[in-house]
């Protein structure tokens, strides 16, 4: 009951959207399914990638390098699987590469106090360089990524097939949103993480090892970027090209701000972006409006700007995000 009253705004919004979508489903089942499908497909990598940012920035480290983390992971996942002929190795390679990239960011910024924005940009440049340099044409995955049907849940009309009959990364994204949300706001780790992101000196005085915790959080968050990248190359596309992530890591940053550094709101924001894209595409298909393809493609970016110019002033980032912690300098 207390939960209901505390979250009445979010829950009532969720209820309205759900009822609206089911009404739409009742009128036109095929269209509603396909639009929800493409919204979520658009949102999956963004949810994972934005959560990298949530964990990093809640711990006080800004991560501009999500794009690069995703790109190298997409590369490692795809070629790992293509060369060894094993999807499992590909998945592991992708996630591990993400963690490795996270470690890179963590050590350069937290340990060696490299400017966080610059570290991210360097990471992106390195990622683009490495993945282009070692790129080889003409490889394919050994097999399609398997889909898993969640019992009972996948039989729900509309949302069942869209959310609960998916590959491993998509299911992980769905689960991790709630796991990270719970961990951040209901566990000791979460309290400490938020403390080192808001006021590291106080956390330090209270006995939290700020440096160690930032190192671990940023490194492990890289694993989520690894999943986002491997999702793109292995699960969504089944291929890899140069510059494959196409700015999704940056979109995730915008979604992170739009979602006010909360995992559940981040997911809502990502779905909203996905839905807007799906709507534009659907209008195009239905020939309701004649919009050139270029404008459809840039819709998410324009929306990001509009959304941020409304939202940015109203939400408050973790106070210490962007500043390195030096013990004893307050």
């Amino acid at each position: 009951m207390r939960y209901l009253s505390e979250h009445r705004k979010g829950l009532s919004m969720l209820a309205i959207v759900t009822i609206g979508f089911y009404a739409f489903y009742f009128i036109s089942p095929i269209k509603a399914s396909s639009m929800l499908e493409s919204s979520w497909r658009f949102a999956i990598p963004l949810v994972l990638a934005a959560m990298v940012g949530v964990i990093g920035e809640r711990s006080g480290v800004v991560n501009i390098g999500i794009e690069g983390q995703m790109l190298t992971s997409a590369f490692a996942g795809f070629f790992g699987a293509a060369f060894t002929g094993s999807l499992v190795i590909g998945v592991i390679a992708g996630v591990l590469t993400g963690i490795l990239m996270g470690a890179f960011l963590a050590w350069t910024t937290v340990k060696w106090q490299l400017d966080q924005i610059i570290a991210g940009v360097v990471l992106n440049i390195v990622a683009a360089g490495v993945t282009s340099f070692y790129y080889k044409q003409g490889n394919t995955l050994p097999a399609l990524m398997p889909k898993f049907k969640v019992p009972i849940l996948s039989d729900i009309p509309l949302i069942g097939p869209v959310f609960f009959n998916r590959g491993i990364f998509a299911l992980a994204a769905l689960v991790l949103v709630f796991v990270v949300q719970y961990m951040l706001f209901s566990t000791r780790w979460g309290l400490r993480t938020r403390a080192i992101g808001e006021y590291p000196n106080a956390a330090d005085t209270a006995g939290v090892d700020v440096i160690k915790m930032r190192l671990i959080n940023v490194t492990l968050a890289g694993g989520l970027a690894g999943m986002a990248g491997a999702y793109l190359s292995m699960e969504a596309a089944g291929t890899f090209e140069r510059g494959f992530t196409a700015g999704r890591g940056f979109l995730a940053l915008a979604i992170l701000i739009f979602g006010a550094w909360y995992p559940n709101r981040v997911m809502a924001a990502a779905l909203f972006f996905g839905f807007a894209s799906a709507t534009a595409a659907q209008l195009q298909i239905d020939k309701v409006v004649e919009i050139p393809q270029q404008f459809i493609n840039m819709l998410p970016f324009v929306m990001t700007l509009i959304v941020l110019s409304v939202a940015a002033g109203r939400v408050r980032p973790p106070a210490a995000a962007g500043t390195p912690f030096v013990k004893g300098s307050a």
Binding site: V62, I118, G322
Partner: protein, 371 residues
């Protein structure tokens, strides 16, 4: 930095010690050179791993970029827009803004110059060239001002807005050269060629645009270090609160710096159009704006230092093609070399290892979301 006590003592030191003092004093130059050396060593290893003799590969790269007058011309042509985008990113850094959007501003500038260049073909060169360059500058400045305004009045972080505007610029321009500004009867997405008299001249192997951009680098150094405007920019970049307290209007400084920054990037695109490409064509300006980021960071926001940094990138870019032709090594090895150099220069670690407690303190160049 050397304090007076040390300076007095230096006079009585052995030559070797004096050399060391000299090196410590000029560590701002030494560190990038060491970083470059290390990057090339790592690069040599990567090239070796690809089964190519690294010294042959590097020879091929540098010979083609520096030893022939054709190659030298190509190097300078490559360096020209890079100096300008490097300056664009640098001046924004001085105000504490990280302009990732030089690429979008540059392609708008390139398109603006191309449009003027073929639309007003009846004008003589003396009017047409300045008009085209001005159009490029204006287009770039306008595009950048969106980020400036969003930052100043809505608190949208410039890193996000400029990245979004890059993608939007690509979309708008792609549409423009696919429909309204498309050369008739062409399959390629490009504008018509600019008028003959709009093409920038060449002095022996030195492109006119190169001279302009070097002059602008010097002018900008003067602006930043010797004028009130430069003082305002630096103050805002160093300490926002102090700047506000001193009566500097922050929104004005932010929008102003973005206008400058975008104008420089746009001019870079305009010069590229008038001097090299001679029209706007999709894909011809790829990466110039992003290299500007690398260059500005290598130069640590110093306008004069952008010249050697841009030349370095220019040499590598100009030589990459023949490197691939001679050895089969992917030209992206150049990006790797630059990325490693940039990493080593940016991390305070290298200076710390070299100079221990005498390493110069590096200042933060950017700001987090909140400020």
């Amino acid at each position: 930095m050397i304090d007076t006590e040390d300076a007095v003592a230096t006079a009585e030191l052995t030559p070797l010690r004096r050399l060391w003092e000299f090196i410590v004093r000029y560590q701002a130059v030494v560190v990038p050179l060491v970083a470059l050396g290390l990057a090339f060593s790592i690069g040599a290893l990567l090239i070796q791993l690809q089964g190519v003799n690294p010294s042959f590969a590097y020879q091929s790269l540098f010979r083609s970029a520096l030893m022939t007058s054709d190659g030298l011309q190509r190097t300078l042509e490559k360096a020209t827009p890079l100096i300008l985008t490097g300056l664009a990113v640098s001046i924004a850094l001085r105000v504490g803004l990280f302009n990732i959007g030089a690429q979008g501003q540059l392609i708008f500038g390139a398109l603006g110059a191309a449009w003027v260049g073929y639309q007003w073909a009846s004008l003589p060169a003396i009017f047409l060239i300045p008009a085209a360059l001005a159009a490029g500058t204006l287009f770039g400045a306008m595009w950048a001002s969106i980020s400036g305004l969003l930052k100043a009045y809505r608190g949208v972080h410039e890193v996000i807005s400029t990245i979004m505007l890059n993608s939007i610029a690509v979309g708008i321009i792609d549409w423009l050269v696919s429909y309204p500004l498309k050369e008739e009867g062409q399959i390629l997405q490009r504008t018509p060629e600019i008028a003959e008299q709009a093409k920038l001249p060449m002095f022996s192997f030195v492109p006119a645009g190169f001279i302009v951009s070097v002059a602008l680098a010097l002018a900008l150094a003067w602006l930043l270090n010797r004028t009130t405007l430069g003082f305002r920019f630096n103050t805002v970049g160093k300490n926002k609160h102090a700047a506000r307290y001193a009566g500097i209007k922050l929104p004005g400084a932010i929008v102003g710096a973005m206008l400058f920054s975008g104008g420089l990037a746009g001019l870079g695109g305009a010069i590229e159009t008038l001097g090299v490409v001679h029209r706007y064509e999709n894909g011809f300006n790829a990466g110039l704006g992003f290299d500007g980021i690398t260059i500005a960071l290598l130069a640590r926001g110093n306008p004069i230092a952008t010249i050697p940094a841009a030349l370095l990138v220019g040499v590598l870019r100009a030589g990459a093609a023949s490197l691939q032709f001679d050895t089969g090594i992917q030209p992206e090895v150049v990006d790797l070399l630059l990325a490693i150099t940039l990493l080593l220069v940016s991390i305070p670690l290298l200076a710390g290892v070299l100079f221990r407690d005498r390493a110069a303190k590096s200042e933060a160049l950017t700001s987090g979301w909140g400020s």
